[in-house]
Symmetry: C2
Subunit: 336 residues, 2 copies
DNA sequence: GATTTTTGCTTAATCGTTTAATTTAAAATT
DNA sequence: AATTTTAAATTAAACGATTAAGCAAAAATC
C-alpha cells in the first residue's frame, strides 16, 4: 500500500507546521487566523496530494469515532434489514458510520458483539437486545456508553428505548377478528421472556378476555432456533380436533412466513377455514393467494427515532427517552 | 463516560512498564520472557480493572484496523441482506468487523461511501459496484487497497471478483422454457451497462438465437429508480397486441417482484397465459399462487468466497482471483 | 574470578491527528 | 520611542497502543 499522504506531508511541502494544516483542513482558518496565501497553498497541496484525513488518528485524539454500533437479531431478516437501512441513512446524514452485527437472539453472541464494538470505541449503541441480556445492558449503562434499545427493552433496566406499542397492536388485531365474528382465535408466538413478545401475547389475552373469550385462548410457543418445525407442530395442534381454531395471529414476520408454509402444506382455505393476521409487512403476504391482513410497524420512524435519541445522548443529553410508536392494521382478504 | 482503563493504568497498578503489560496482553510473555509472577500480577490487574484494549489505538499503531468495508446496492434488499449476513459471519470468524453502506446503485453515493471507508482505514473492500464506477475501482487499485468485487465486475479493470455465471444462468433458464415448448419469450432487465446485466441479457439472446428464435426476442429495460412504474409499462407492452409473449424471464429479484405485482393486477393466468422465471430465491415466489420457477444464486458460497479472496489479498497475495459460481434452476409450477 | 550469556525489565519512538501554550514579528496606540 | 495589541505562525504534548533497542542483574561458562 503506497503510503497515504498525511498532514505532515502537506506541512513539509508547504513548509509550515502540521498545526496550520490541521486548522485549514478543519475550516478553522478564520478563528486561528491563518494567512490567506498560506491557506491557499495548503489547500492546493492537499488537493494535489489527494489528502484524506486518517479518521483513526483523529478518533484516537478526539476520543470519539463518529461510529455507531448496531446490533440486531439477524441482518438477513427483512425487518432488521430495513431498520438497518434507515439507521444507516440517518446516521450518515449526521456524519456517522454504522458497524453492525447479528446476535441470532443469542446472549453469548450479543455479548461478544458488544465487546468487539466497545473495543472499536463506537460512540454509542443501537441494540435489539437478545433474551437474558439485561445485565449486559446494565453494564453498558454503568460505563456511561450512550445507548438506545429498539424493538424491545427491559422493565428492570431504565434505558432509552424506541418500540412499538406491542400490546396495542395485537389487542387491535384481535379486536378486529372478533368484530369480524371470529371467536376461536389462536396465536403463535416465540417462547421468550422479552417484553415485546410478552406484550404481544398480553394484547391477545386481554382482547380475548375483554370479549368474554377467555376460555378460547390458545397460545402456542415456538423456539427461535426451531421455528419451522415447532410452528408446524403448533399449527397441526391448533387446526385439528374439535377445539380447532378459526383464526390465528402470528407474533412476528418470521412466524407468519413459517405459518404460511404450513397453511400451504395443509391446504387450508383462507379465510374460510382459517383467518390469518400476520406481523410486519412482507411481499410474501401480498402474493399469498388470500392477501394477508397484517400489523404494520412504522419501520422508518423507528429507525429515525432510534438514531435521533442516540445522537441526543451522545451529544450529552442526560434525560432518558421512551418512544412508543403506533402500528397500523392493514386489512385485506385473509380475514374475510 | 468514566475513563476506561488503559495499559498505563495496569502498568501503574503493577508498577511495571506498559511494554510488559502489552506483551502479556498479547500472549507474548514467552518470547519476551516476562517473569512468571509478573505475568500473574498483570493478568489479575487486567481482570480486576476489566481491561479492554483500545482497538483504535492499536489500529493506528499497527496500520491495520481489522475492519472490512462492504458496499452493496441496498442492505434492505434480501439478496444483499443475506450476502451481508454471510460476510459478517465469515469475517468475524477471522477476527474482522464489517462496516457497511448502501449505494442505491448511484455512483456518487458509492464514491462518498468509498471515501468514508478509506478514511476509516478499512483493511479491504467488498464492493457490489454501481454503474459507472470503474474509475473509482481503478483508483482504489492504484492505492493498492485490497479489493474484491461481488455480483459484478468491470471488463476494463482487472480486479478480483466473485460473481455468478450470469450468462449460463439465463441461457439455461431460456433453454428450459424452450424445451417446455415456449417460443415467444420476453425478458425484463434493468437498463444498465453493468456486466452482470449485460451477461444475463446475452444469455437470453444467445439461447433464443441458438433455437432459431432470434426474431422473437423482446427485451424491455427498466430504470432502477422507477422499477415499479417502468415494469408496469413494460409488462403491458409485452403481454398486449398480436405479438404478445407467452413466457417471461426477469433479470433480478426486485424485477421479479415488480413483475408479479403486474401479473396480479392484470389477472394473468400463470402459466397458461404466461410462464415465468424469476431470479434469486424469495419467500414471495413460494407463495405466489403458481410457485415460481427461479434461478437460484449460491449466496452462501458467494459471500464466503468474497471474504476468502479478500483476506488472501489483505494477507499479501498478489495474484488476481476470479470466481464464477454456478446457479441452480429451481423448477416449479410457473412454467407449466 | 573474570567473562559471557541469559533473564527480565525499561526507555522511548512511533502511528496521524488535535489543540493549548508559546513565540515572533508587525501594527497600533500612547 | 516605548509600550501594547494583533496577527500569524510554531512547539510540543496528548490520545493508547506496539515494539525495537538498550540496560542491569543474575546465572552460566571458562
Amino acid at each position: 500500500m503506497s503510503k497515504r499522504t498525511s498532514l505532515k506531508d502537506i506541512a513539509e511541502k508547504v513548509k509550515v507546521s502540521t498545526a496550520l494544516v490541521s486548522y485549514v483542513m478543519n475550516g478553522q482558518e478564520k478563528e486561528k487566523r491563518v494567512g490567506k496565501e498560506v491557506v491557499k497553498k495548503i489547500r492546493d497541496a492537499a488537493a494535489e496530494l489527494n489528502y484524506q484525513p486518517n479518521q483513526i488518528a483523529r478518533s484516537l485524539r478526539k476520543g470519539s469515532t463518529k461510529t455507531l454500533g448496531l446490533i440486531v437479531a439477524d441482518i438477513a431478516n427483512p425487518f432488521f434489514g430495513n431498520i438497518a437501512r434507515v439507521i444507516e441513512d440517518e446516521a450518515s446524514k449526521q456524519g456517522y458510520t454504522v458497524i453492525f452485527g447479528s446476535s441470532d437472539e443469542d446472549s453469548g453472541k450479543m455479548g461478544s458483539l458488544v465487546d468487539i464494538l466497545i473495543n472499536r470505541q463506537v460512540d454509542g449503541f443501537i441494540i435489539v437486545p437478545a433474551e437474558g441480556t439485561d445485565l449486559q445492558i446494565k453494564a453498558l449503562q454503568e460505563k456511561k456508553i450512550p445507548l438506545v434499545l429498539t424493538d424491545r427493552y427491559f422493565r428492570e433496566v431504565t434505558t432509552n428505548y424506541v418500540v412499538l406499542d406491542n400490546f396495542g397492536a395485537t389487542y387491535d388485531a384481535i379486536s378486529h377478528l372478533i368484530e369480524k365474528g371470529f371467536k376461536k382465535i389462536g396465536m403463535i408466538a416465540y417462547k421468550s421472556a422479552l417484553i415485546h413478545m410478552q406484550e404481544r401475547v398480553r394484547g391477545y389475552v386481554e382482547a380475548m378476555n375483554a370479549n368474554n373469550l377467555g376460555n378460547e385462548i390458545r397460545i402456542e410457543e415456538v423456539r427461535y432456533n426451531h421455528k419451522r418445525s415447532d410452528t408446524e407442530k403448533a399449527m397441526n395442534k391448533l387446526v385439528a380436533g374439535d377445539k380447532k381454531i378459526s383464526a390465528i395471529l402470528f407474533a412476528t414476520n418470521t412466524l407468519t412466513i413459517s405459518g404460511l408454509y404450513c397453511v400451504k402444506k395443509l391446504s387450508l382455505k383462507i379465510p374460510e377455514e382459517l383467518a390469518i393476521i400476520g406481523f410486519d409487512g412482507n411481499e410474501a403476504f401480498d402474493f399469498f393467494y388470500s392477501p394477508l391482513t397484517y400489523i404494520e410497524q412504522p419501520i422508518e420512524e423507528m429507525g429515525k427515532e432510534s438514531v435521533r435519541v442516540l445522537l441526543d445522548q451522545i451529544q450529552g443529553s442526560t434525560k432518558t427517552i421512551h418512544v412508543e410508536l403506533r402500528h397500523q392494521l392493514i386489512q385485506r382478504e385473509s380475514c374475510g
